[in-house]
Structures are given as C-alpha cells and as structure tokens.
C-alpha cells in the first residue's frame, strides 16, 4: 500500500524561545529546523507498514523551499519519495494548508494513497486540524490521537488512550490517521539512507497562498516564567538542605 505522510518544518527551539524584533516569528538565526516527533513517528509507522506488506512511502510538506531539508531527513528514515508544496515563506493557516494538501492528493486520482498519516498536531502552531480537514476534503474517514495502528485488509484498527483506558477504532480505507509520539520508536537514519535521500527526487508544486479565517497578529513569550533557582549547595554536601526543603514541601512521609 502506498502511504502518504504529512510533515511540517518547524524551528528547533531549545532552552529559550527568542522572537524576532517585530514579534512575528521565532528567531531562527541560532537554531536549526526539525519536524514534530509525532510526524517522525508517522513516517516510521509508514515505513514499517510498507516493509511488512509492500508499497511506498511518500512524504509531503507545505513550506518554504528550505523545507526540502525536512523531506530529505524523512527520506533518510526510509521514505521513498518527496512532495514539496512550495510557499514564499508566509505562514499558512490550517484551512488553506489542508486545502492545498487535499488538492495535491486529489490530483493523483481517487486511488492514490489509501492511507494518509499526519501528526496529531503541528509542533509550532498546534492547530489540531489539518489531517481532519484533509480527510473531509477527500471524503475519507479519519481518527486522531493514535498510539497503535494495525492495517488489516481494507481497514485500519487504531487505538488511543482515554482516561487511562484504551479506546479502539476501526476505520475503513481510504483513511487519514493522526498519530502521536510513542506509537513506535523511530530508527536513526542509516548512512545508505542518507545517501539515498540526497539523490531522491522531490516533486515541487506551487499552490497559491490563501488567507485563513484565523490570523496571527503577534507572538509573545508568557510572562512570569523566568525566575532563578535558589542553589541549595553543591554535590552531596547539599543533601541535608535538600532534605529540609523536601520536608517543607511536605513530600517526606
């Protein structure tokens, strides 16, 4: 089965978020880029599915020309082909993003990609909706939040956690499934994988930007999160002081 996996290029923010002077973007001059762990797991899941039962894995991203890097990272994990929906770098909202993804898939005919995997939510904007909107646009069933997946003939069985229990869904193919980190343990890219990824062909399409009903005005870092920890001491010398603090907090029986 041919599986499509949607991934999004996001800044690799570490210990502190720094914004650009105009408050419009995360300052990425000092950081690299990555994709959400949810999406990395979606790629791993697709690779495992096709290794078991044949087919190919295509990774798709909508983003600036540089987002080809993220496609190559995913190709190095075992995906076969890449599709870049190239933008001019402006932020796309979830409605427009889903419409562009659905249009690109729709172009390939109704039989294309019986299974589309997405992350549960994008790491940066966290809209929780692109996969579901793609499913509606293509007239498919959809389930999200999935942490275990089995393809059985023309259905997928999918499990997720709810209130400490497992919920099970059975979804007929063609379908869209939103997955969460934890569904598998992604492999590290192999050297042959990296070499293959370098050479792999990436199809580039250029959808037209569309305004979304939800528009960013500005970003800000939440106030009141920065403080300075009181140092209790160094090494094992600090243990009596640490004991005192734990007692104060009330966690020592």
């Amino acid at each position: 089965m041919d599986v499509l996996v949607c991934v999004k290029r996001v800044p690799m923010v570490g210990g502190r978020v720094v914004l650009t002077a105009d408050g419009q973007e995360v300052d990425t001059r000092m950081s690299g880029f990555t994709v959400s762990p949810h999406e990395e797991c979606a790629v791993e899941e697709a690779v495992q599915i096709t290794q078991r039962s044949g087919g190919t894995v295509t990774v798709l991203t909508l983003g600036p020309p540089e987002a080809a890097e993220q496609l190559r990272d995913m190709l190095a994990l075992g995906a076969h082909r890449g599709i870049l929906l190239e933008t001019d770098g402006r932020e796309w909202g979830p409605v427009a993003t889903a419409a562009a993804i659905a249009a690109a898939v729709g172009e390939l005919g109704p039989g294309a990609f019986p299974l589309i995997l997405a992350g549960n939510e994008a790491a940066d904007t966290g809209g929780y909706q692109v996969g579901i909107r793609v499913a509606h646009a293509l007239g498919r069933s959809c389930v999200t939040g999935i942490k275990r997946l089995e393809v059985a003939g023309d259905v997928v069985r999918a499990w997720r956690e709810y209130a400490g229990a497992q919920e099970e869904f059975e979804v007929a193919l063609p379908a869209v499934v939103g997955v969460k980190e934890g569904i598998n343990l992604p492999r590290y890219p192999s050297l042959p994988g990296r070499l293959r990824a370098k050479r792999a062909e990436i199809t580039v399409l250029r959808p037209a930007w569309q305004a979304d009903g939800l528009r960013k005005v500005a970003l800000r870092v939440p106030a009141g999160s920065a403080q300075r920890a009181r140092v209790l001491g160094h090494g094992t010398d600090a243990v009596p002081e640490l004991m005192r603090v734990l007692g104060e907090i009330g966690v020592l029986a």
């Binding site: 923010v13 966290g126 909706q129 389930v143 300075r228 009596p240 640490l242």
Partner: protein
C-alpha cells in the same frame, strides 16, 4: 449543512422552551465519572464570559450519553453546570450514539449551531474536544482556534484571541474572522475569572438528595432539573456514515500510579547516563510515593518507554514536587511540567536553562546526589 429532520424535543406549556432567538454560546461538556471533566468546566468559564459580553448571557451546555434507561442526566452534571453559568442543558441521545464517535459528535454540534444560530461553540482542548471541533470546522467550513486562553468578540464580526503555541511555551495574539467562533480552551490556561472547581460547586442542590441506591433524578425533555436548569433532549439526524468511526471497545490499561496525576515525580534526563541509572530514581520515587518521568532524549534512546515522557509530545504533569535530574530544561520538556507546584533540580551545569524555571537547585552529579538522598531518607525513616 444540517439535516432538515433534526428534531428537538421540547415541551411547551408552563415550562418556557429555550428562546431560539437567544443565540446561546454552545459548550461541549465531557464527563468525568458522574460529573463534568475539569477541562470542560474551564471551557464553561470562557463560554460564560463570551455570552455575557455578547449580551445574551445564554450558555447551552451539550452533553452526550450514554444515559441510563432513557434521557436521564446525572444529578452531578446538572449541579455542576447550574453553577457554571449554564442557562440551558442539552442532552444528546440517538440510536447508535452510545460511545464516542468524533464525526457524529461534530454533526450534533453542527445541527445545534445552525438551529440556534450560535455565535460561538467551545470545547475543552482535550483529545476529544480538539478532534470534534476540527470535524465541526471541516463540516461548516469555519476556522477553528485550538488551545485558546482568551477570546472576545470585537463587535465587527471578528474575535480577538490569545492562544497557545508550542504547547503553551509561546502565546499568539490572533484575529478570528468567522460568523461563529469555534474554539477549544487550553487546559492549563490561567483564565481571567477562572474560579477553582471547588469554589463553584454548591454545597448541596436542593431536591437533589437521591435516595441511597437510587438513580439521580431524571431529566425529561423540557423538564426543569432540580436545580432550576432547563434541560432539553436533542435527537440529532445522523446517518450510518456519521457513526462509522467510533470507539468500539475500551480496555483498562495496566494499573499503577499515573504520571499525569502523581503527587511526586522524579525526573531523569540524558544526565542519568543510561538505562541502569534509573534504578536509583525508581527507588527514590518509591520512597516518596511517586513515579519516574523522563525527557525525550531518554525515550528516544530506548532507555525508558514513551509513556514515562514528560512534555509537549508526552504527558503533562502537575505534581506537588518535580525533582528533575540531569534534564536541561528545553521548552518542550518544560511545557509538560509548568503546572508542577515545586520544581527542584539536580544538574552539573549551573547555567542549564532549567535553572531559570526551578525553585531550588543542587549543583552536582546526580549519580552522587540521588544515592546520598536515598540514604538520608532511609536513615530519617529509620530504615537505614
């Protein structure tokens, strides 16, 4: 959009039916045992403030079955929403709608939205809330704003929102342009007038003292519940396709204390050095009646399973104490522990980013500090 044959069972007569021209703000309620889930009560706070600002003051809470033997609604649900500013309670019941079905739930909200001309529909930003609202957005063609911490109508048909990005590490001020605002409300958002759950729960609801062993009072279509809240039963028009995806089976997970609700969490990151290093953290967690939580480096190395991961793509915790050992404090990790009441860290690096998010720090090697702490606790407890 909506099925034309959607039926609403409302009685007329002495009990006034909800005014269909009152444009209620709709709020999806998830249940938690007999009552309403905390996240939904939080969503109600925002729903109430929106309805107040719009002038109608009407908030219609929408709750799904399964309801025991007909359209009954649990007394606890009624009691909680009555004090949460809800003016109408809508109980949804339909053939085949006994469990969770994301598309069907969205269809129900769509039909209510259209029938009531709701200015806004809210849900908690939970797995279910976000999923149902995304379906609702797709069905109606409306935009959806997830993880909002505030929302206000501007009067010119747009909304001013503040919503979380990066799981709350960043806030976005946004404008939403839509005839009906579809919003989910962040679980850990500090809402302006968010009253704690205890404070809003009534001492007792008059007439709600159920006979021991009996079911809570039944709410019939159009009946005023014991608390004075009008309750309607809504029977949506659903077809087979709407009900195709639904939770068919629920099995309990392996027991043990849950990371999300543990009172003490002992965190371990890359600094633990390998899978063996967690034995002493487990021992400490055991002594303090807590559990071990880890960073993503630890799970992606395969040292510990993902269900122990704290953070943006793991579990959000809210313990009394989070003792983070060998964890640098990346924003995606901190997004999972910002509700911890006290954060204490053990780290060799006095300049690690986590130092600016913690209350107390021990500068040192966790492989020395933690065993010494375990020994001290055992000694203090007389188990030397």
């Amino acid at each position: 959009m909506s099925g034309p044959d959607a039926r609403e069972c409302e009685s007329s007569g002495p009990i006034a039916p909800p005014d269909s021209h009152s444009f209620p703000v709709l709020c999806l309620l998830e249940r938690d045992g007999d009552g309403v889930a905390d996240g939904s009560l939080r969503a109600l706070v925002l729903a109430r403030s929106i309805a107040g600002a719009l002038g109608s003051g009407r908030v219609m809470a929408v709750v799904f079955g399964p309801l025991p033997a007909g359209p009954d609604v649990s007394g606890a649900v009624v009691a909680e929403v009555a004090v949460g500013g809800v003016t109408d309670l809508c109980v949804v019941s339909a053939e085949g709608l006994s469990g969770y079905a994301p598309l069907a739930w969205a269809r129900v909200l769509e039909q209510l939205l259209v029938a009531r001309q709701a200015p806004a529909v809210l849900a908690a930003a939970t797995d279910r809330g976000n999923e149902v609202m995304a379906h609702l957005g797709a069905l109606t063609g409306l935009p959806v704003a997830a993880n909002c911490v505030s929302a206000a109508a501007t009067g010119d048909g747009t909304w001013q929102l503040v919503r979380q990005r990066w799981a709350g590490s960043l806030l976005e001020e946004a404008v939403l342009e839509a005839p009906c605002a579809l919003l989910t409300v962040a679980a850990d958002a500090a809402l302006d007038d968010a009253a704690p759950r205890e404070a809003t729960r009534p001492e007792a609801v008059p007439g709600d003292e159920a006979v021991p062993g009996s079911r809570p009072p039944a709410a019939r279509p159009g009946v005023i519940a014991a608390s004075g809240l009008p309750v309607v039963t809504f029977t949506p028009a659903l077809d087979a396709a709407d009900l195709r995806v639904r939770a068919t089976e629920s099995s309990e997970q392996g027991g043990g204390m849950s990371l999300a609700t543990a009172r003490v969490v002992i965190g371990g990151g890359r600094g633990v050095g390998g899978p063996e290093g967690f034995a002493v953290l487990e021992e400490l967690a055991g002594l303090l009646g807590g559990v071990v939580g880890v960073s993503r480096v630890v799970t992606s190395q395969g040292w510990r399973p993902h269900r122990q991961q704290v953070g943006q793509t793991g579990t959000k915790i809210s313990p009394e104490l989070y003792l983070a050992c060998g964890i640098s404090g990346a924003i995606q990790h901190m997004a999972g522990c910002q509700s911890a009441r006290h954060i204490v860290v053990v780290n060799t690096d006095p300049d690690a980013p986590i130092m600016s998010r913690a209350d107390y720090a021990v500068i040192g090697d966790l492989n020395e500090v933690i065993p010494a702490l375990v020994a001290a606790i055992r000694e203090a407890g007389g188990q030397g």
